[in-house]
């Protein structure tokens, strides 16, 4: 079975560190074919171009293994849009937003121009969720409903305190896919899958904060049919990349 891990961080952050080589080794050990990668803390918040150049280098070295999610902080305005366009034209495949780290509310009009650019570039937008006050599933639902042609990925499924918001948010905006890293309540995931359909869910590890081993253990515990497991682990994200 093919596996795509939607969300990993590569580089050295405040407390996390993962090299591309080490990630590839872990992917090989667990049968993960491809990983969506983004850079770490500082590069997500402020040093966007450095982060994107780093991702481009890795995506060029291992084009079959890595899909780079570009970072662009909307506080940089026009510069952020130019940076996103440049990064995507040079080979990155998506946009990653962490409004908690980048310092804005996820549904603030500040971010609209960046999303409009993502729409023009036809790329998925991965949004960190679950961190109050500015990175919540309900805010993503608001944003996503304004841009129905853009595929949004709800990172970490709202995490613990916001899981009640996940299903209504996903219903409000059908263009949201739910990435499951850190959200490990197996019966709750199973119930959400029966309500929303497996086609709305994506496997992600948020390595190295969680890990591929830990997150795969959880997916296996869901005991999905082979067909549904294949969709969560591979097919849904593969489809979203077009």
């Amino acid at each position: 079975m093919k596996i795509i891990d939607v969300h990993c961080h590569v580089g050295k952050g405040i407390h996390k560190e993962l090299s591309a080589q080490k990630l590839l080794k872990i992917m090989d050990d667990h049968g993960v074919d491809r990983a969506g990668i983004c850079p770490v803390d500082e590069e997500i918040a402020v040093r966007n171009k450095e982060g994107n150049l780093f991702l481009l280098d890795l995506a060029r070295k291992w084009p079959d293994r890595f899909m780079g999610f570009a970072v662009a902080n909307p506080w940089y305005g026009k510069q952020a849009i130019e940076e996103l366009r440049r990064a995507i034209n040079e080979g990155l495949r998506g946009l990653k937003i962490n409004s908690a780290l980048q310092g804005f509310f996820l549904n603030d009009p500040l971010v609209y121009p960046l999303i409009e650019e993502a729409q023009r570039l036809r790329i998925p937008v991965y949004c960190h969720t679950g961190t109050p006050v500015g990175a919540l599933p309900s805010q993503l639902a608001d944003l996503a409903s304004l841009f129905p042609q853009v595929v949004f990925i709800m990172g970490h499924a709202g995490y613990t305190d916001f899981w009640y918001d996940v299903i209504p948010s996903a219903k409000k905006a059908p263009n949201i896919l739910i990435e499951l890293s850190h959200f490990n309540n197996v019966p709750t995931i199973r119930k959400a899958m029966s309500e929303l359909g497996c086609e709305r869910f994506l496997f992600g590890s948020d390595s190295p904060v969680s890990s591929i081993a830990v997150e795969l253990d959880k997916i296996r515990l869901l005991k999905l049919s082979q067909n549904d497991e294949e969709r969560v682990l591979f097919g849904n994200m593969n489809g979203a990349l077009g």
Binding site: H15, V133, T160, D161, V186, V209, V214, D217, L221
Partner: protein, 249 residues
């Protein structure tokens, strides 16, 4: 030896069915867990005394397998202190569980101060739900640790996902703060072990939330963690046994 230091005993909570004492012990048997620490859930929302009695009854049924922390409503003032003494002396419950998020109070509300003082007198550790804004973040509990250095305070979720670094800082600054990393990502558990120490940490599943599957997942996560076996053994039971003087058979 494994002690699960964070579980809840209840009949029904919304759509969720709880486990009774016998079912609890069945789950413990199935996963080679020696003992579980029970907390209420419904008792956070209703009259605590009734639910403290239920906890004591469960422990009486399986004294070798279960122990329980009582709860009180800090708004009850003197009545809450009397209930603490009743739980300690009549029901033999060794600790206190507070859930500021469900019970709707801030941990630094002055009504909490007498509760802290009584917990010191009675030598009852307090385990808090934590990691959730606005009432119960690690640094808020750190303020209590400043005010009451003799109290034993346990962060019941060690900061969850967003506050685990803060939980580590609070534990480093306050020797009386302990960590139950139920819901902390694997990197956070590893960092905690390195920086705060396994002798300050205890395993908790939050059973029956997430069912047996989440319990299995959390045990698998801990077993796969790159720490020493001595550290793993402290987290899986050593720390809580020492704190409560438990002697699991």
């Amino acid at each position: 030896m494994i002690i699960d230091a964070h579980t809840h005993l209840f009949n029904r909570y919304g759509h969720l069915r709880g486990l009774n004492a016998k079912q609890f012990v069945g789950v413990l048997d199935k996963h080679d867990i020696n003992m579980a620490g029970l907390f209420t859930l419904t008792g956070f929302l209703e009259e605590p005394a009734k639910y403290n009695n239920d906890l004591a009854a469960a422990v009486k049924e399986f004294p070798d397998r279960l122990y329980a922390f009582c709860t009180v409503n800090p708004r009850d003032g003197e009545k809450a202190l009397r209930e603490l003494r009743r739980c300690r002396f009549d029901l033999a419950l060794p600790g206190i569980k507070l859930h500021p998020w469900l019970q709707a109070f801030s941990v630094t509300d002055p009504m909490m101060f007498p509760i802290l003082e009584e917990s010191i007198k009675l030598n009852m550790p307090i385990i808090f739900h934590d990691g959730s804004v606005p009432f119960s973040t690690p640094s808020q509990i750190g303020l209590l640790a400043d005010l009451y250095p003799e109290a034993k305070l346990i962060l019941g979720h060690a900061g969850l996902k967003d506050f685990f670094r803060e939980a580590i800082l609070v534990a480093q600054r306050h020797k009386n703060v302990f960590l139950c990393p139920s819901g902390v990502p694997v990197l956070g558990i590893k960092l905690m072990t390195e920086k705060a120490g396994a002798d300050r940490m205890m395993f908790g599943s939050d059973l029956p939330f997430g069912g047996e599957e989440l319990l299995v997942h959390k045990l698998n996560t801990l077993r796969g963690l790159e720490i020493t076996d001595a550290e793993r053994s402290m987290i899986l039971g050593g720390t809580i046994c020492k704190m409560l003087n438990l002697k699991p058979t």
